[in-house]
């Protein structure tokens, strides 16, 4: 039997869609954990990234951070937190936030850094205050990269939240981990299929967010380059 | 042969048709009487040197390996190719110590020289140059142009050079092809005749309104009848000098040293004030300004020197710096008049226009690309 047939059979069964272990509940849980972590990470990393990109100080830190963070084993971090902090909210929240911060930070930094010097100069020449330049020129021009950073972080957060089921978290990963433990492959396949679909849905959501947030002129410029 | 014209006139495209970087829609190009379209493009190009504006040196190879590229490509041994590279570095006046360096370590002017050396490495009979000196500053450009002329004196290659700079075209070209916007030829001629007899208003406009004076650069300074009686060595006494000045009727005398190198001007008014027995060696002299070389400079250079001089007289020297004579506006006038009168004028304008218009309508330049021409 192929993966798809396993998954499809499992998904079709009516009882999957009801109750506290039902699919809708798990989807919402997954989105909840992911969304919360992303939000917290963004609240930390966006201002920090913009500030560093704007002032140019601390750049060395950012540069090396980007390189090193990819080496962090997600499963390892989750398990470490669980053992040190017990099975509490922090044990999954901290790793998710920690893994989400670098892409948001680096992209925000690069985005602001890459704003054309001439643009900032012209804005200053027109009489804008430093804050106005930041908010009306630098951030909008950096917005494509900023959104990209959030989108990348979202990929990692959704994926890591799946793995976090290993340390007791709910969400779609639950099906995979429980299924593996009980050796029920259809459940594992169903969970995997759902997670994959969710991940794609999140990406589509970000495409829409980009359309809303990023000014039209910039979107077109990025496409033509 | 120099192709010159405004931007977008097709001069670069025409050049690139010669080594088949671009293929013409109509017409043929013959190299040594053979249609280049018969040849394999890659092989064809190995026999044609190509120099471009930003050199296009391989950043990942050393200078000597860059120059040795085509020889290696056609199968010379590494030893022989590198040796050739060193010869060429010498030819283009590059310090041999640069051989193992990389392009990014050289200046723009140096990189261009490497570009020229690279193009000449396999000793191709034809050399194509596309705005080779446009990307460097004016001083470097002038010296590169001089070097090109110098190299050409040794090598006698067929060179086709594209430039948007008319001065460069006139300075460097044996023949100049002026393009109209849109790609047709306006006039093909030697620089002197081009300046003397533009075939139409477009050409005249392109040449600019000082072409009369620019044309003087084609007349040799040796045509001048220089004044020699007003040249006196500094051991002459003031009394002697006064006598010379009175005999010649000129207000200024040129004082030279024992080697006959110029020292400066002295006016007759000053001579009156000095003690008769003193020699000129201690006398106050006015600077002699810019000199011109009688054997190798042009009437234009002589005129320029005269205009710049405070005394309205210029000093003509031999190649070793020794004074030959002095010129004044009068003498210049005579020489210029004689030169212009004897040079061919209006009758040839018809000829050159006819040559230009036969090339109209096609995008390939048959006649101008033939390898029958012996020089640029």
């Amino acid at each position: 039997m192929s993966f798809l047939s396993f998954a499809w059979n499992w998904l079709r069964a009516a009882h999957q869609w009801q109750g506290s272990d039902g699919i809708p509940v798990r989807i919402l849980e997954h989105l909840g954990y992911s969304g919360l972590s992303l939000l917290i990470a963004a609240l930390i990393a966006l201002p920090l990234g913009v500030a560093i990109g704007h002032s140019g100080r601390g750049a060395f830190l950012v540069v090396n951070l980007a390189n090193a963070w990819r080496s962090i084993p997600t499963l390892g971090l989750l398990v470490l937190m669980a053992v040190l902090l017990g099975f509490s909210a922090l044990s999954w929240l901290i790793p998710l936030v920690v893994l989400a911060i670098p892409p948001i930070l680096v992209n925000a930094y690069e985005g602001v850094l890459g704003v054309d010097r001439d643009l900032k100069d012209a804005a200053r020449g027109m009489g804008m205050t430093p804050w106005q330049i930041l908010l009306k020129v630098e951030v909008p021009v950096a917005s494509p990269l900023i959104v990209l950073g959030l989108r990348t972080a979202a990929i990692f957060v959704v994926a890591t939240a799946t793995i976090a089921a290993e340390i007791g978290l709910g969400g779609l990963g639950r099906y995979i981990i429980d299924g593996l433990a009980s050796q029920i492959y259809p459940e594992v396949a169903g969970g995997a299929a759902l997670v994959a679909l969710l991940a794609l849905a999140v990406q589509v959501a970000f495409v829409l967010i980009r359309r809303v947030v990023v000014p039209v002129g910039l979107r077109m410029r990025a496409r033509s380059s | 042969m120099v192709f010159v014209g405004p931007s977008g006139c097709g001069k670069t495209t025409s050049l690139r048709m010669i080594n088949r970087m671009v293929d013409p829609t109509e017409g043929r190009i013959l190299l040594d009487d053979r249609d280049i379209r018969q040849a394999d493009p890659a092989k064809l190009r190995r026999g044609i040197g190509y120099v471009i504006q930003h050199a296009g040196l391989f950043p990942h190879r050393t200078i000597e390996d860059n120059i040795a590229t085509v020889p290696l490509l056609i199968g010379w041994g590494r030893q022989k190719a590198r040796q050739r590279a060193h010869e060429l570095m010498d030819l283009v006046s590059l310090d041999p110590a640069m051989a193992r360096r990389y392009p990014h370590q050289l200046s723009g002017g140096q990189q261009q020289r490497v570009g020229v050396a690279r193009a000449l490495a396999a000793d191709p009979p034809v050399l194509l140059m596309d705005e080779p000196f446009s990307a460097v500053d004016a001083i470097v450009r002038a010296s590169l142009q001089d070097e090109l002329l110098h190299i050409q004196e040794h090598l006698h290659k067929t060179i086709v050079l594209v430039t948007h700079d008319l001065e460069e075209a006139i300075k460097v070209g044996d023949r100049v092809a002026l393009f109209r916007p849109g790609g047709t030829l306006a006039q093909v001629d030697v620089p002197d005749r081009l300046l003397a007899a533009p075939s139409d208003d477009y050409v005249a406009g392109f040449l600019g309104f000082d072409r009369g004076i620019r044309r003087l650069s084609f007349f040799p300074a040796s045509a001048l009848n220089l004044e020699t009686d007003t040249v006196v060595p500094d051991r002459t006494t003031v009394a002697e000098a006064r006598r010379v000045a009175k005999d010649s009727g000129q207000p200024w005398l040129l004082v030279t040293d024992t080697e006959r190198l110029p020292r400066g001007w002295i006016s007759t008014a000053v001579l009156e004030e000095l003690p008769a027995a003193a020699t000129l060696s201690q006398a106050p002299l006015s600077g002699y300004g810019h000199t011109f070389r009688v054997a190798s400079d042009s009437l234009r250079a002589a005129l320029d020197a005269t205009v710049l001089s405070a005394t309205s007289r210029a000093v003509g020297v031999a190649d070793d710096g020794r004074v030959v004579g002095v010129t004044s506006y009068d003498r210049l006038r005579t020489a210029i008049h004689a030169a212009v009168a004897s040079a061919p004028q209006e009758t040839t304008a018809q000829e050159t226009t006819a040559q230009g218009t036969t090339a109209q309508g096609t995008t390939a330049r048959e006649s101008t690309a033939q390898d029958g021409m012996s020089a640029s």
């Binding site: 997600t74 793995i163 | 050199a55 950043p59």
Partner: protein, 230 residues
Amino acid sequence: MIWSYIPANAALIRQLTIENAVLGIVPAVLGLIIAVPVGIACVRWGWLYPPVLSSTSVLYALPSLALFIVLIPYTGLTDTTVIIPLTLFSLCVLVPNVVDGLRSVPEPVRQAATAMGFGALRRLVQVELPLAIPVIIAGLRVATVSSISLASVGQLIGVSSLGYLFIDGLQRDFPTELYVGFVMVIILALAADLVLVLARRLLTPWQRRDARAELRVSVRPGTLGEGVVR
């Protein structure tokens, strides 16, 4: 932290490290081998690039665990089940880098090569690829580090790697084992990164030497945020 754990289990740790290394390096290398021709094709036939890029973007968004699971009916619980998805992830990173690297060759250089009589293949091999090396290696660094790290997730489906120390440490509630696993993955990944940086240095003697620039990361807009690590 119980230090005696380390010497007591040195053999195990070494074995797991080697397994993890293989699971991380093989996908990166396979990814490179596939990405280079694909990238060359995308440069040669520009219309290929947008669909290829879209496909890799979609692929990259999928969680690694899900992809491992998708393969189980076909390749069982073997190393291959982990290697294939990680190879695909490496491809997602490497194809844009190969394309960017080739496109970064300055136009005058390419023109000069053609004009000197280099055929298209020779030009590719002798001029364009060598000049693309820095950008390609940047992508290879990202692919290798990510693969080494993600390989440990394979432990969840029983494919042996340093991830074993995580699962075992969790079950035994034994932090020391976790620390060891965590640190070893990071060391392994960063060591691989360093080797690649040195390789780049060796392969590109013509590049300017600038210590800061060597480790620099810059993000190429339009990719999935996988920065081009230069």
